[in-house]
């Protein structure tokens, strides 16, 4: 790619940062140029974010209706899924799935809750409640 073709699309996903791209200058030598974004990359990054947000929004609705415990929504709201949460806590997936049941989660031990809290970067108290949130943009 030539230096002049390095995209400068001011992508919101870069949040005013620049990415280093190696490109060819007029003399044919390859050097680093800062790119402010590329619409193509922005499209796929936002597609992935939207997918995560949709999952979080669905989870939110289920918790609200009392079908799932708040933990279920917290997992998606921090861009995790069952696999990542299992990896991060060291818990088996099936035991985590049980904690998604409101009646099981209500009786969770402080010790187990603390492991979730540590892995998810929240306090135990925060994990127990569903945050009031608008799922337009998470």
């Amino acid at each position: 790619m030539d230096i002049n073709s390095v995209p400068q699309d001011d992508s919101s996903t870069y949040a005013n940062n620049k990415k280093a791209i190696y490109a060819r200058d007029e003399d044919g030598s390859v050097k680093v140029v800062g790119s402010s974004g590329w619409s193509v990359e922005e499209t796929v990054t936002k597609q992935a974010l939207r997918d995560l947000e949709e999952r979080a929004a669905l989870a939110y609705a289920e918790v609200k209706r009392g079908l799932k415990s708040p933990l279920y929504h917290h997992m998606y709201s921090i861009r995790m899924d069952l696999q990542v949460l299992a990896d991060s806590t060291g818990f088996f997936k099936w035991t985590i799935s049980k904690d998604f049941k409101p009646e099981v989660f209500a009786k969770i031990s402080e010790k187990r809750l603390a492991v979730y809290a540590e892995a998810m970067g929240k306090t135990s108290e925060e994990l127990k409640v569903l945050e009031e949130k608008n799922h337009e943009r998470d």
């Binding site: 790619m1 919101s12 996903t13 870069y14 949040a15 940062n17 620049k18 990415k19 280093a20 791209i21 190696y22 490109a23 060819r24 030598s29 390859v30 050097k31 680093v32 800062g34 590329w38 619409s39 193509v40 990359e41 499209t43 796929v44 990054t45 936002k46 597609q47 992935a48 974010l49 997918d51 921090i78 861009r79 995790m80 899924d81 696999q83 990542v84 990896d87 991060s88 806590t89 060291g90 892995a119 970067g121």
Partner: protein, 334 residues
């Protein structure tokens, strides 16, 4: 305390960027592309059985930590790598090293680093950065994929260093204990170039090298029979692995092309390396066209032409093959 005379440089890839800056700080001035090339870091692997965020792993470069290890081996650098059984020990050790005026490499998650753009924070655990100083509860960070140095609070950096799961960093810290100031790069260029060319051309397994690219193309052809939402997410995932910070496939083709150009100059303007560099720049452009095709397909309401996308990827594999065939012609002249 801050390390004196440290110079931050903007890089295309975290691990090669960290190693380049670290070596330069210790008196061995090697560019990022040189480090990337001498570590034979260019590759391709498609591992459908390893899932990240529900999607198969697509890698455009070697395994995490392989640049650190290959540089150590190929350049006779001695590195110290330390992991920790607890957060407290890991924090204390970092502070201790910084108080000695050292710059320290660290592996971290991307998600828990507050200075990353909010929309780029995903659960990826094999990011690399340099800690170059400390001011109370804040660290000064030289993160090579950022244009400028960053600040990160202690709690966040610890969280990012001690996440568990796939490629967990276990608080990994690394720094050199011996760096030669003079290295004859030529023989290392010769062996590392051959190594990349051979492994891309002749992997014994169908999931790596050029065969891996063809295998990925085959998987794209099969998407027609899959759920449409999944198909689009999978295509988007391929491009994200190719373009997003720290993983970029097209970016790595450009990076390696830059290494080949620098190597060509090292061998008094060697024509084969020069030509291979130009060819690989072109391959990088083709990867970007491939990404563009996918972005259009994702946005479009019409049926996706999976065959056309797969064909494009097949042709990239064929074109990239020519680069490695060319590289095998290279002979060191003295």
């Amino acid at each position: 305390m801050n390390a004196t005379n440290f110079e931050h440089k903007h890089s295309a890839h975290c691990e090669s960027g960290v190693m380049s800056s670290m070596l330069r700080h210790h008196g061995l001035n090697l560019s990022e592309p040189m480090v990337f090339g001498l570590a034979s870091a260019l590759t391709f692997a498609y591992l459908p059985f390893i899932k990240m965020g529900g999607m198969p792993l697509v890698a455009y470069r070697s395994m995490p930590k392989s640049i650190i290890k290959n540089i150590q081996k190929n350049l006779n650098v001695t590195m110290k790598l330390e992991t920790f059984s607890s957060k407290e020990k890991g924090e204390a050790r970092l502070d201790e090293l910084l108080s000695q005026g050292k710059i320290v490499g660290a592996q971290s998650s991307v998600y828990w680093l507050p200075y990353f753009p909010e929309e780029m924070r995903f659960h990826f655990n094999a990011h690399n950065l340099l800690v170059i100083g400390q001011d109370g509860d804040n660290y000064k960070i030289s993160d090579p994929v950022f244009e400028f140095t960053q600040v990160c609070d202690k709690a966040s950096l610890s969280k990012a260093r001690f996440v568990k799961g796939v490629m967990a960093p276990k608080g990994l810290l690394y720094y050199p204990t011996f760096v030669p100031t003079e290295v004859d790069l030529k023989p290392i260029v010769v062996t590392s170039v051959k190594k990349v060319a051979k492994s891309m051309l002749n992997t014994p397994v169908p999931i790596a090298g050029l065969k891996g690219i063809k295998y990925l193309a085959k998987s794209i052809r099969k998407l027609g029979s899959k759920d449409k939402r999944y198909a689009k997410l999978f295509l988007g995932h391929i491009v994200r692995m190719q373009e997003e910070i720290g993983t970029g496939g097209a970016g790595f083709r450009y990076l390696y092309a830059s290494f080949l150009q620098e190597s060509s100059l090292l061998f008094d303007g060697d024509e084969i390396l020069g030509e291979a560099s130009r060819m690989l720049l072109k391959v990088g452009d083709e990867f970007r066209e491939f990404a563009l095709m996918i972005a259009k397909a994702i946005k479009s309401k019409n049926e996706i032409d999976f065959e056309a996308i797969a064909k494009k990827l097949d042709s990239i594999a064929d074109e990239e093959k020519e680069v490695y065939v060319k590289l095998l012609e290279f002979r060191a002249k003295n």
